[in-house]
Amino acid sequence: MSAPSTTPRSAVANSVWPRLEPLLPQIAKPIQYVGGELGAVVKDWDTAAVRWALMYPDAYEVGLPNQGVQILYEVLNEQPDVLAERTYAVWPDLERLMRTHQVPQFTIDAHRPVRDFDVFGISFATELGYTNLLTAIDLAGIPLLAADRSDADPVVVAGGHAAFNPEPIAAFVDAAVLGDGEEAVLEITTIVREWKAEGSPGGRDELLLRLARTESVYVPRFYDVDYLPDGRIQRVVPNRPDVPFRVHKRTTMDLDAWPYPKKPLVPLAETVHERYAVEIFRGCTRGCRFCQAGMITRPVRERSITTVGQMVREGLEFSGFHEVGLLSLSSADHSEIGDMCSGLAQQYEGTNVSLSLPSTRVDAFNIDLAQELARNGRRTGLTFAPEGGSERIRKVINKMVSKEDLIRTVVTAYTNGWRQVKLYFMCGLPTETDEDVLEIAAMAHEVIRAGRAATGSRDIRCTVSIGGFVPKPHTPFQWAAMARPEVIDNRLRLLKQAVNADRSLGRAIGFRYHDGEPSLIEGLLSRGDRRVSAVIRRVWENGGRFDGWSEHFSYQRWVEAAAEVLPDFGVDLDWYTTRERDELEVLPWDHLDSGLDKDWLWQDWQDALGEYEQDDCRWTPCFDCGVCPAMDTEIQIGPTGRKLLPLTPVNGLRVPSDAKQ
């Protein structure tokens, strides 16, 4: 027997592994802290000029599939002199042991202490990760407050959608980057590399200043916030001469030039998504007024059908995944989605690869696409999102779907063999009344009635899923008052009664919803200012962790912390959440430029209140939201006219050349 030599776990000088390993038998799911996934990269520490630790501030099972972190991880590691490793939030069982045994926050790639890195980048998809940020910083041994950090600490940079208002975490981060990260991380790397090569002149302050001068990295410490006696912000101004008044978002144009991830990470532990996800376009101009993602990612930039085809082929070959997700904010809107779906379905027919499209558009075309993707025999679920129950509220939120459209679409799905569809709505929208929400019940009843009539079968179901509305910065609803949790909960109770009022129809309707309480806290964090950081800190000190998990989230803890710290500033929880803002109020994120013209946003807010709808600029003339001229960008859409060619089946084993004997 010729036993090949075993792969040595590369000896890593600054690894905490010898101290971590004895703790692993004492905790749940230790595999999540081990690293070494397919796609993971471990580089030599000493030869790297710039070292990044990247974090998704949730558990491995949620964080690993995150597309943003995977893209930046790969983009950075492709640079020969740059090293990037990943770290995720550790569960409280390991946190306790790490504190007892003095093991610092570590990366899972080479188990290096996060504090040893030059840059610590955290991607916030949601504000509910803020307490996990504090745990990670604290476990890392980095001072909680940015102001207390020394040259020995990494620069803590926040990114992701929540970074469009980083004010609630301004005290804890050194910088924030708005918008697309691909080019931003390389620019930051260049600045850090040069500054280090020069011998780190001027220390941390100089480095942050150089970052701020790019006008696309926000360094909160260089800005002062003044308040009016009534608690509102008077102004936000730079406190030194050479930083910009406004910081602008980054936009990556030409997605074909950035086909990441090419080498998707294949998780070792179970995760929420186990698939190869390809973004088919970025940005959305449907103009749903509640949707922060659609507002801050403009303009629409499509990835071409051929690049998508190539990414799918290479990504699957690399990873061995059996599922492909064609992601975007509204995937059916890609100019060549039909050819893309039929081309991919044809290429993978007869294999065990399944394709999925997050379906939200309410029209028959969506069902054609789903039919195409189901050619391999596996039907993915269909979700339609009318978002609002009544025609009136749908005009308010600019979701142009009529009740007839919805019923026709869902019935088409039933007659094409789907037995179950999911309908997604929101509760707590601006101007919403009980009646608007109760119309959801009528709509669901009608869907089932029409479905039974069309199919002649009683074996059809729909699930009504309801999320709580949270007003977000940089949207027309940024001025809106939130509804109180008890109002939301009461509406949901009334709706449930109305759904079940007809017992025959009610039995075919599933009902899923979230309580109003977590939404209110998300509202505090998303539209908060710097004073809210005291609330976050107090919650964290009182044990707040994993706020995105209902079993860990404590509404009481947030309410108490807010009541303890906010009165000193003359404000309270309601002031941030259930208060409507007026046109002239300075909003905490006004100095952060998403490209959207504030006057246009206000006009769109007024249009919402007037129940006036706004078209999509991909198909109608520009309506002057401001993004393209402000950011010097333009809509990039097809059609390219190209088609996907049949694949030559790849057979045999993928044996890396250096592993062949």
Binding site: M1, A3, P4, T6, T7, P8, R9, S10, P18, P22, L24, P25, Q26, P30, V34, G35, G36, E37, L38, A40, V42, L268, G320, N352, R378, N651, G652, L653, R654, V655, P656, A659, K660, Q661
Partner: protein, 208 residues
């Protein structure tokens, strides 16, 4: 890789007596079903490349009938017990060996079960060695070697340690480090034979 039939096809993989979580191993075996014949050496290299550092695929042979489970009769374990006096361990092992039966308890998927941890133990010895399979930094350490017969319910190294607690109140102050060194067929001499040997002798490569 071959898949099962049905609405959600599963890859055809079966593990023979996988080591428990938190235990190191130098000898794990699994069977996989393939759609077509491949060179076992190329398969080994491909699997090894896809797995994490530290998880090394050492060998692959074509199955020649009979399931892998039938070829695994016993396992050889080494247990390092840091901060345990070897003499104390020796006394505990003597008490364990002298006992006819040693009943221990463990939570299983079926709930709490009580079973004999003694009968399955073919060999149990305190060894003197400077070498620690875990390569952990040298601390005063007693080392136990075990050969345990594959039975149902499985008697695991932690069950034997529970047995030592039962017969001699042995309470390791820190977590023991357990490594499986080998598993396979039990020879007449009490040694463990590589379960892949059957597939290696005169196996037709690429055949079925």
């Amino acid at each position: 890789m071959a898949y099962s039939q049905g609405f959600t096809p599963h890859p055809k993989i079966s593990y023979a007596s996988a080591a428990p979580t938190g235990v190191a191993s130098e000898a794990e075996y699994l069977e996989i079903g393939l759609r077509e014949s491949v060179d076992p050496a190329a398969l080994r290299a491909a699997l090894d490349a896809a797995l994490s550092p530290g998880l090394d695929v050492l060998d692959a042979v074509v199955a020649t009938g009979g399931s892998l489970v039938d070829r695994i009769e016993a396992a050889h374990w080494r247990i390092e017990l840091p901060e345990v006096d070897p003499d104390v361990l020796r006394a505990a092992v003597a008490a364990f060996t002298a006992a006819g039966e040693v009943f221990v308890e463990r939570m299983t998927k079926q709930g709490r079960r009580t079973f004999d941890a003694r009968a399955a133990v073919i060999d149990i010895n305190v060894i003197m060695s400077d070498e620690t399979p875990s390569e952990a930094v040298a601390v005063p350490c007693a080392i136990l070697e075990l050969v345990v017969r594959q039975v149902t319910p499985a008697v695991r190294p932690d069950d034997v340690l529970s047995g030592l607690r039962v017969v001699a109140d042995l309470e390791p102050p820190v977590s023991p480090r357990v490594t499986r060194l080998a598993q396979g067929m039990l020879t007449a001499q009490g040694a463990i034979a590589d379960p892949l040997d059957a597939g290696r002798d005169g196996a037709v490569i690429g055949g079925r």
